[in-house]
């Protein structure tokens, strides 16, 4: 092929990939976390002021990651989504190329083949590519976030690989902001990024190529990451799971087998990419064998760079040993770095034309399979999602809407599944908050009751006794704060003049108490209130919910802990010194919010959380 032909093929391939991402952006449905963004934009105009307010609130009270703000951006404006999302997804490719090979891709056939290899490997190595790329909350929190982190390293990689470096003072503020943004992206990738950054700056210093922008980027990263890690919102997110345990405690809890289990999970998720890469290596060796050529090891620089990239990939996995939540999506960054290591070695293997051709052929096949599955899956998903939205929009406020279920209901490698079926409370949230509906039901799947709080009011003299749900009822954890108790007092105070004699908040649908006893959160009468106060408590013996002795139910019969969807009856740990009783929490099988219940013969109490 002529040079001009290669150039045209390169541009055509880039446009084709951009078109694929654009079609997918057009077909992106509104799923799960997207609804929360739409709820925000329902009450706010899209603009910098609202975004700043959202970011500030998130930082102090919710998910402090930058990806959450990016999610609000792409959910807030369809135009921005259609422009930015495909570009970021496309940009991942040259960024990984630079990180792997230390230079920008050139518009020729050889680099196009390497880019195809990288894209195919990324889709194979990451656990759920259809969700990671096209479910906006995962895309912004992982794909966009790691693209920003890698983009920070691009100038460093190019500077170290080049023979000289220009001062470029104008880069100083840009690199500081980029470094800060990279630090604010993800808790798991930050430590490895900081070590890698120190390595790059040290190497530049040793080579006498240190520049102000390099230091600025490093300072930005070293400011951004602690800002994320110690953000006040971390204490609230996932029920505060991120701040409950220290890294050393998590390591001790997991033990060697638990940590090896995470490594094994990563290897398993990456297995298809590993197989294809090993196939390329074996093909290379077979070719040498058939030709009776001697094996010449790759240059030391290539081996060194590939080793460093693989080590960085492994370091991020090791960081997960100390993370309270390990799920498949957090393997994204490690997977991409592993692909960069593979690409480093692939450039050497591609030196054998026959190997290059066969690997490129395989990549076209596998890449095409992915593209087809992406398009076909999301075209159907979008149609179903639009139908669901149309039903919700056209439903009369105050009524119950029935929406068709998404198929498949469970998630797959390509598809998130049906968010309303997986999270039964979500339909009610969406119906109530966005469309003023009483409830939203899914037509084909059996509905699990969504947990909710309801108030029971008794009056003296007796009159209409009602049990009704009130959105403004303070939750259990709010009732543990002065603000929450003030909210409740205000609610009660409005009706005391009407003869309110008893006000009880019940939890419905959260805990299926044996013998169908009611589950009480708080019970108020004019003589006082009853509230069982339990909070997280950690000590050398393990994790507990510590219940204030004075607030314990008088006729306690049994105690239960609900966590990970499992209810266990537990025995209280009562010390001889008269300290508060402890409810043991077993985090061996899963982590997440745990709730304690204490049962009397005729009723149960919500008795604390962990």
């Amino acid at each position: 092929m002529t040079l001009r032909g290669e150039h045209r093929a390169f541009v055509a391939a880039a446009i084709a990939l951009w078109l694929l991402f654009l079609v997918q952006a057009v077909n992106t449905p509104v799923v799960l976390d997207d609804w929360f963004q739409l709820r925000y934009w329902r009450d706010h105009d899209f603009g910098p002021g609202s975004l700043w307010a959202y970011a500030r609130h998130n930082y102090f009270n919710y998910n402090p990651r930058l990806g959450e703000v990016l999610l609000a951006v792409v959910d807030g404006s369809r135009a921005v989504h259609l422009i930015l999302t495909p570009l970021v997804q496309l940009a991942v490719l040259p960024i990984v190329f630079v990180i792997a090979l230390g230079r920008w891709p050139r518009p020729n056939l050889r680099d196009l083949q390497l880019l195809l290899f990288i894209q195919t490997m990324i889709w194979l190595v990451i656990p759920v590519p259809g969700i990671m790329y096209f479910y906006r909350p995962f895309a912004t929190n992982y794909l966009w976030a790691f693209a920003i982190t890698l983009a920070l390293f691009v100038p460093y990689r190019l500077a170290i690989a080049a023979s000289s470096t220009k001062p470029r003072r104008w880069l100083v503020p840009i690199m500081f902001v980029l470094g800060w943004a990279a630090g604010m992206c993800n808790e798991h990738t930050g430590p490895t990024a900081m070590v890698a950054m120190a390595g790059f700056v040290y190497a530049a210093w040793r080579l006498h190529r240190i520049r102000a922008w390099m230091v600025a980027g490093m300072v930005g990263l070293y400011v951004g990451y602690p800002m994320l890690f110690f953000a006040p919102g971390q204490a609230v997110r996932y029920g505060g799971v991120a701040t409950r345990d220290t890294p050393t405690k998590l390591l001790a809890d997991r033990g060697l087998s638990g940590c090896l289990g995470i490594l094994r999970d990563f290897t398993f998720e990456a297995r298809l990419a590993i197989v294809l890469f090993v196939a390329a290596v074996v093909s290379y060796l077979v070719t040498l064998y058939v030709r009776r050529h001697r094996f010449v090891p790759p240059p030391r620089r290539i081996v060194f760079e590939a080793g460093l990239l693989a080590a960085a990939s492994g370091a991020i996995v090791v960081t997960l040993f100390m993370s309270p939540t390990v799920s498949d999506r957090v393997f994204y960054a490690s997977g991409v770095l592993l692909v960069a290591a593979f690409a480093c070695l692939a450039q050497y293997l591609f030196g054998a034309r026959i190997v290059r051709r066969s690997v490129v052929g395989a990549c076209i096949f596998v890449c095409g399979f992915h593209a087809l599955r992406f398009v076909e899956t999301y075209a159907q998903f979008k149609t179903e999602n639009d139908e669901r939205l149309a039903i919700l929009e056209n439903a009369r406020p105050g009524t119950v809407a029935v929406v068709p279920s998404h198929e498949p209901a469970r998630r797959s490698r390509w598809h998130f599944g049906d968010d309303f079926t997986q999270h039964p409370w979500l339909g009610d949230y969406v119906g109530g908050e966005l469309f003023d509906l009483v409830r939203v039901d899914v037509d084909q799947h059996q509905r699990w009751p969504a947990p909710r709080l309801a108030s029971v009011r008794l009056y003296d003299p007796p009159r209409d006794t009602t049990t009704r749900s009130i959105a403004r009822l303070p939750t259990y954890r709010q009732l543990q704060t002065p603000t929450g108790r003030f909210m409740l007092a205000a609610e009660i105070g409005r009706e005391t003049s009407d003869g309110l004699a008893r006000f009880m908040v019940r939890s419905i649908g959260l805990f299926d108490a044996p013998r169908h006893r009611p589950v009480i959160v708080i019970d108020w009468t004019p003589h006082g209130y009853k509230f069982v106060d339990g909070r997280p408590h950690d000590e050398a013996r393990g994790h507990f919910i510590r219940v204030q002795a004075a607030s314990m139910p008088k006729r306690l019969e049994s105690t239960y802990v609900l966590g990970c969807g499992i209810i266990n009856e537990v025995k209280l740990v009562i010390d001889s010194d008269g300290a508060d009783p402890l409810v043991p929490v077993d985090e061996r099988y899963c982590r997440g919010p745990f709730t304690a219940f204490m049962c009397e013969p005729d009723r149960c109490w919500v008795a604390g959380w962990y």
Binding site: V275, V278, A279, S283, G509
Partner: protein, 92 residues
Amino acid sequence: MRVTLLAFLLLLFFAGCGLDTIEHSGTDAAVDAPIDGMGSGSNMAAYEPSPRDGNLELVVIAASVVVVLGPASAMRRRRRAKDEITDSPPFS
């Protein structure tokens, strides 16, 4: 070389043909827990295994086998064809 090929076959087996006994640590859902963790996705999806796609595994395994065996057989074919040309008498 035979050992290399055997090792590769074992890897293929690992990739797609079995080892369902490998368990995954729980995955948590995207949604952040409500303040009490009531009905949040973070505990509901704790047991959901990472989904597999048998068709993709088949595609990758087929592609890998072609990558391994394709070049060698192509070279053998070419060499045989070359040998035939060399062995054949001129102007036959």
